[in-house]
Amino acid sequence: MEGGRNEVVVTSSSSIVSDFAAFRSDCPLKKFAQPHSHLEWTYFQAGPGDATPLVFLHGTSSTAAAFFYQVQSLSRKGYYVISAQYPAFSSPEEWCKGFDRFLDAMKCRAAHIVGAGLGGFLAQHYAARYPARVRSLVLCNSFASTYAFAARAGTWSSLIPVMPSMFLRQAMQDTLPQGGFMEMSAKQAIDWVGQQMNDLSGEDLASRLSLNCTGSQVPSLQLENRQITILESNGETMVPDELRRQLRIQYGGASFAELKSRGDFPYLSRPEEVTLFIEVHMRRFGDFIGYPTGDTPAAGYLEELPSWEDPLALREEPERRQVWKNPFEDDDLL
């Protein structure tokens, strides 16, 4: 194997490694070869395939495995979940065409999309171009513009296509936070992501780095803001403050969830917290009720439950809307 960091070891006894091994033993990695191209998507899939899926899209440095905790727990709760790993595309536009094929192949008319970092950025591009296919968005430590990254990378990004993959891999490893004060669980998540990165081809690395570092702005979305949830880790992440703020302003009426988790990979470091917010997000849509199997409420209790009308319709009503009016009303940042 090539490259500098194969020796990255998990510095502290990490449960992620063993949890992932358990996950892999009953969830195979599947493949979809995009017709008329050499492009191949890989994905994990779990849950009832007849529902509108919740499709996860990883960030620059990760793989489909990044969301294995969510695939596991949300499918157990009755959601249809797909974690997709995209192949190398040259631009957000090309990526969108490819993702559209991927959804075709999954035989789903529409999807709820959860995107982390670059994955969230691409998901917004897709939602802008193919509005009929996107039911809702969850954006985790994401951004709506790459201009700040482009400015930082400077001429570097134009060299990406000609760089040896060994160098790209090192560069990608170096973008991961290396040290400082962080939660142990956040550190374990970083180490694990660093290891998973060894599975990426040079072509993948080049594509992701250039998608991330080439200036592009998400066109305006037709989605209503209430169909969007923004998840943000507590404290610093690799996403600069200016981009975080910009995202919140752009989707002013979205549900804004601050996590107690720290670091860039909360879905790995504090998986239950991220899963909870995704579940709360999904409950705003009529598609699922999502009682965990084997953990259904006591008999007699279900009858008491109000019927599940489309909560979006409920929220059309004035007094319901007020509750949601503007979660950032008191946000001094704005």
Partner: protein, 210 residues
């Protein structure tokens, strides 16, 4: 240096259906009140930034459905709570009697490290309906005292009476509870140098998101 951690307080409001949980949150966050009742479905949250003793903190307030006791959101919902608000309607004794159950339920689900000292706040709501009062302040205070002195406030989501003060107390108690639960990672090679900015100390390459 990365002490740039923001203080995020997770507050959970529990109580029987109709006691005014949603109304209290709506009054506190949006300064609005409506007479119309619409049962909350599931659970949802609102965010509010507050100043506590010159410190800016973010309160994430979770409103739950009184009708859906076990929520099916599981323990993750209760985990990490910094304060639990128990609400009853002081015109309906049954809602006051339920507080014991709500409290127990919370402690079982959240399993806080130090259950005896976990901060609760009790709110006797609908204080504007004094003529219909069925639960005296003395009775409520008595119960609160028996539970390791839980603070008790009487509020009205309708008139906003005492709402601000009650949530100030909630935030204050939550802040005292809030602490880092996870051990902090310190790299072995870290040399503490006052002039060194750790995040700028990375090797060259593009800055990009993970």
């Amino acid at each position: 240096m990365s002490a740039k951690k923001k203080v995020l307080l997770k507050v959970i409001i529990l109580g029987d259906s109709g006691v005014g949980k949603t109304s209290l949150m709506n009054q506190y966050v949006n300064k609005k009140f409506t007479n119309q009742y619409k049962a909350t479905i599931g659970a949802d949250f609102l965010t509010k930034e507050v100043m506590i003793d010159d410190k800016l903190v973010t309160m994430q307030i979770w409103d739950t459905a009184g009708q859906e006791r076990f929520q099916s959101l599981g323990v993750a919902f209760y985990r990490g709570a910094d304060c639990c608000v128990l609400v009853h309607d002081l015109t309906v004794p049954k809602t006051f009697e339920s507080l014991e159950v709500w409290r127990d339920e919370f402690l079982i689900q959240a399993s806080p490290r130090d259950a005896d000292n976990f901060p609760f706040v009790v709110l006797g709501n609908k204080a504007d309906l004094e003529s219909k009062r069925k639960v005296t302040a003395a009775r409520a205070t008595q119960w609160c005292k028996s539970k390791n002195t839980i603070p008790y406030h009487e509020t009205s989501a309708a008139t906003a009476q005492n709402v601000e003060a009650a949530f100030q107390e909630i935030a204050r108690r939550a802040l005292k509870q809030e602490h880092t639960e996870d051990p902090i990672y310190l790299p072995e090679t870290l040399t503490l140098n006052a002039n060194q900015n750790i995040s700028n100390n990375r090797p060259m390459g593009p800055d990009c998101a993970c």
